[in-house]
Symmetry: C2
Subunit: 411 residues, 2 copies
Amino acid sequence: MPVLVMKFGGTSVATPDRIKRAAKRVGVEVAKGYDVIVIVSAMSGETNKLVGYVEETSPLFDAREYDAVVSSGENVTAGLMALTLQEMDIPARSWQGWQVPVMTTSAHSSARIEDIPPDNITARFAQGMRVAVVAGFQGISPEGRITTLGRGGSDTTAVAFAAAFGAERCDIYTDVDGVYTTDPRICDKARKLDRIAFEEMLELASLGAKVLQTRSVELAMRYNVKLRVLSSFEEQSDEAGTLVCDEEEIMESNVVSGVAYSRDEAKMTLLSVADRPGIASIIFGALSDAGVNVDMIVQNISEEGRTDMTFSLPTNQVARAERAMNDIRGKDLNFAELVTDDNVCKVSVVGIGMRSQSGVAAKMFKVLSDEGINIRVITTSEIKISVLIDRKYMELAVQALHDAFELEKAA
Amino acid sequence: MPVLVMKFGGTSVATPDRIKRAAKRVGVEVAKGYDVIVIVSAMSGETNKLVGYVEETSPLFDAREYDAVVSSGENVTAGLMALTLQEMDIPARSWQGWQVPVMTTSAHSSARIEDIPPDNITARFAQGMRVAVVAGFQGISPEGRITTLGRGGSDTTAVAFAAAFGAERCDIYTDVDGVYTTDPRICDKARKLDRIAFEEMLELASLGAKVLQTRSVELAMRYNVKLRVLSSFEEQSDEAGTLVCDEEEIMESNVVSGVAYSRDEAKMTLLSVADRPGIASIIFGALSDAGVNVDMIVQNISEEGRTDMTFSLPTNQVARAERAMNDIRGKDLNFAELVTDDNVCKVSVVGIGMRSQSGVAAKMFKVLSDEGINIRVITTSEIKISVLIDRKYMELAVQALHDAFELEKAA
């Protein structure tokens, strides 16, 4: 029988009643003839409670013990989900990560899945079991210790199972009903997308549309796992939610698929830096060592051997970045001045259609200009154009771009 | 290095602060040179919460899933205890049941430990680890599923580890400071015993002095594991608490070690039953099928082929027992009348000294008679004499017997 993977997040399994609702969704798919692998998160709040215990006990904790503690929340929901399905007369059992086994690296608290031998679960499906409920977020290291995949790791577990079992699809049930053209809270014309390409989803995920964990999308792209995001709080049809898939499966699409934003950005500029090889590596090496997540980088045209270096970073890392730059000033690095603007935001348009269509950047800049919005920094990739602008214009920019690219209309 | 097993119950690990206090006790033993195996329960309240989830989800639950869910509480405390010990610079790690492995039968939710191969933990001790923290109450079945040992199973886990590792002693830390000659709440002369024999402890445990789980005492007796009960809420010396041990290690002891009681007893009498072979098996088979826990049984002298059969049972099972007797009346069983007295209690004196000393029963009966207390039923074993009396005399009987056998004085 074809295999379907269904993943339920913490809010979807927060109480025995919600587990029952999720189990009913599973029952619908079983009735269609699927053998189903259900991946569950911990009840919402549980993992935070356990992390709190660990941090209270040991601020610099042994990650192996951290993993042993925080993985227990998923074991509870896996057992309860199996019991709920049994109550519905659906043959089901729970599996903890080590029982499958979900084999991971030894990088505790951020382990990567290396292999999921399907033999045990496949054998049980052959004997008539219809649902394997698997505790998400966890695995077992080569040393036989329990590992976890890091926050949001249950999405990755789900995609890895879909790849290992050649599943027809991997449905991610969450508390939103899909992926939108932009954030409905700041643009009331935002439209739910029926389909979106992996590459677009990756750009949107890393830009702050936290619907799916980035690693799970990367994995889905690599193994071409069809991923569907949908709500566990609504009645669902076969066409509900948003399908994240290979671009070849998207017949028609707008040039631009979505407008993303990131509110709390800062811009730093080092004025008059010596323009010589290796200078970028000194600056960004020092920032990386200081734990600063640099995003956009722009180097201005140099004059007489001097250049200006501009980069963006989260506002709460500004102090750290300034300290790192002043620490190397006069030693490895000379610059005239360090100018910080922590009052900017990032707005991006994303779309695989840009690859074949020119003029998107020009149109974006004109839209912003028409609204009187000054652009501070521009970066572009194959399928994305991002600008830094003053934070006060953020909502205006998002709405204007959404209108200009007609995102309220389907392709 | 010699091995010591230390077990901490739910109230002793109820919060990260209490875990810290327990860990300090472990540190004291490590400093003495012991390699320590710590067995932990779940934080108090956690197991009840998980059992509640299971019962809400599935009234007739699959015991395999029940075990997968309820065992998770111990995993949390095991990890937190290991982290706490590491913070004290004591090399420690946690082990879940399947990691050791604690091999059990497949009788889910009431499994029995079959074997604990010591190799893994012994190898780690040899490498310098000083404390192995093991999640109590759980194991793994031959099929690779998680099992639990039933309520109070962590005591049994502790004794089984002490036997498997040839531990010098098994210390059970709890919320009382030892075993008493009787309940201090009803007799202010009750004295803590320094030592008590396994057999006596078994009689006291089954009589309702719920300090230790009965199975753990049986196991300790079989493998001659020295068991010490002591409080985790007091500063402890080497001589603290009560040592439960082989009677040969008790040099001097009173003839009677303790007075036990059980408050909510009922007495039922079947009047004029045919006195023929097989009749007891019919009566007590029917009661057992009805889930009635019969305790004392007395058959009166028979006259003309008829006899009276009397037995005791918990008061909350009277209705069930009456229904069972009336169901077989006139079919498998004939009796004149069923008389119930649900206003009695059981008082017992226990002591291995009785074996070699006669007159204990006579003295007991005289004490009760002097107080004007009428005895309804008597049963005796090698080391115990129990009587059923009216419930209103319970405290009086316990205090009078405690005085008469001079239990306030050490031997």
